[in-house]
């Protein structure tokens, strides 16, 4: 079946099966492999993308359900000149990643959070990340990076 959507501002079309997942369409047909498939059971959040402005787990949504939608992926986060977004730069500055597998989902969730809640508390950040699992960092520096990206002073949060 034909599907078309706008991905990172670009109109794309494809031919998919009913059972094709959004994550599969992005990765296999559009070669946007920044969207990671971790657990494939909608628990880990590595596959989080934005659909019509809200965060969704793309491994748990059919590609055809996104027909006509505005989709945002990690590849669309950096600025046009290739420089990192504020959130991406904060992850680098505050060592918010180790292996990096969860990072695309973390960044996309963080972007969704900060759109609705530009200055979250540390507790709100941790609460919002309940659906994003990281097995390396212990979350501390991820939370710190998101707090920093929101323009808040994180100097009182000790480096770990």
């Amino acid at each position: 079946m034909k599907v078309s959507m706008t991905v990172n501002g670009r109109l794309v079309e494809g031919d998919v099966e009913g059972r094709t997942l959004l994550s599969g369409f992005l990765r296999d047909q559009l070669s946007l492999t920044g969207t990671h498939v971790g657990c494939d059971t909608a628990q880990c959040g590595a596959c989080v993308v934005h659909v019509d402005g809200v965060a969704v787990k793309s491994c748990n949504m059919l590609a055809l359900e996104a027909d006509g939608a505005e989709v945002g992926t990690i590849e669309g986060q950096a600025h046009a000149d290739g420089s990192l977004s504020v959130i991406q730069q904060a992850f680098q500055d505050h060592h918010g990643l180790q292996c990096g597998f969860c990072t695309p989902g973390m960044v996309m969730s963080a972007a969704a959070l900060l759109k609705d809640n530009p200055r979250p508390t540390e507790a709100e950040v941790r609460k919002y990340l309940e659906g994003n699992l990281c097995r390396c960092t212990g979350y501390h520096n991820i939370v710190k990076a998101i707090m920093a990206a929101s323009g808040q002073d994180v100097s009182h949060i000790a480096a770990e």
Binding site: D40, Q43, V51, V56, K57, G131
Partner: protein, 292 residues
């Protein structure tokens, strides 16, 4: 069910959704199916008339179920494109009506003023990304024995409105993953009378994000309702002994000495029957406390 597919065993679905192992190997390969996305209830009902057709709400349970090959629909009929099934409104009599295809995140935000306890329940389902897709109609139709919404619906004495009829919550739920819904019947909305006070207390199972035990207490002018999810092998149920005690005196102490028979409780690696029975009492007391 088509050849090659096993009929789904509710216990397999339960165990899979709560973090159990897959009964089949290839978890990323769903059986093939067609897909339709009608824009009206009438068109959805027509599409669901096809043999082995299955309605698709937000898919947050159905898609994992399909990945595990526990279901093999011929066609999925998405309900997400039906505008008349989305949204939250308050009727003239004060009842809160939620469209069947309304995602949890919308309920959490838009019902916060009119029915805060129900909005809080919606805001505790899954995680933010799940709440942006999962719908009230999907949750209620699926009747997962550990889902949050069935407790809110039964605890509120809500009315389930379908394309053919209206069903009182007391008559709707029929045990684990079972309801009175007929083949092809769609939950178009759920209508909640708003109580004087209410609270949902969820003891989270943090891996699945379902309730290990969840209790919804609602106090109306004509009586108290107590609905329990996550605990019973028979799915959501009303704890009538607690209701009677709370009708006499609406205080946590009124529940002292009351206990649930553990015989019918769910037992899994996350909690024994006795543990769940104990949690029912504790969470009910907390819900009463929070409603005072």
């Amino acid at each position: 069910m088509r050849l090659g597919a096993l009929p789904p065993d509710p216990r397999d679905i339960y165990s899979q959704m709560k973090g159990g192992s897959a009964p089949f190997g290839k978890e990323d390969e769903m059986y093939s199916f067609d897909f339709e996305k009608p824009s009206s209830i009438a068109d959805a009902v027509a599409a669901l008339g096809a043999e082995d057709a299955q309605a698709l709400g937000g898919g947050q349970t159905l898609i994992p179920t399909l990945k595990q090959r526990l279901a093999a629909p011929s066609v999925l009929v998405s309900l997400s494109g039906i505008a008349e099934m989305r949204g939250v409104c308050v009727e003239d009599d004060g009842a809160l009506v939620i469209g069947g295809a309304t995602p949890h995140a919308i309920v959490a935000a838009e019902a916060a003023g009119s029915y805060p306890a129900l909005a809080a329940l919606a805001g505790q389902i899954g995680d933010p990304a799940v709440r942006n897709r999962g719908t009230i109609g999907g949750s209620v139709a699926n009747n997962d024995p550990a889902a949050c919404y069935p407790a809110g619906v039964l605890g509120s004495g809500a009315t389930i409105v379908t394309n053919t009829r209206q069903v009182a919550a007391d008559d709707f739920f029929e045990g684990m993953f079972a309801t009175v819904l007929e083949e092809g019947e769609i939950i178009t909305s759920v209508r909640f009378p708003v109580p004087q006070a209410a609270s949902y207390q969820k003891f989270l199972q943090p891996a699945s994000r379902f309730a290990l035990v969840g209790v919804y207490v609602a106090r109306f002018a004509d009586g108290v309702r107590v609905a329990v999810t996550g605990a019973s092998e028979d799915g959501v149920f009303r704890w009538t002994e607690a209701e009677a005690a709370l009708n006499k005196e609406f205080r946590p102490d009124a529940l002292t000495g009351l206990s649930i028979n553990p015989a019918n409780m769910i037992a899994d690696l996350h909690g024994s029957k006795a543990y769940r029975a104990h949690l029912v009492s504790v969470m009910t007391k907390r819900a009463v406390m929070a409603s005072l």
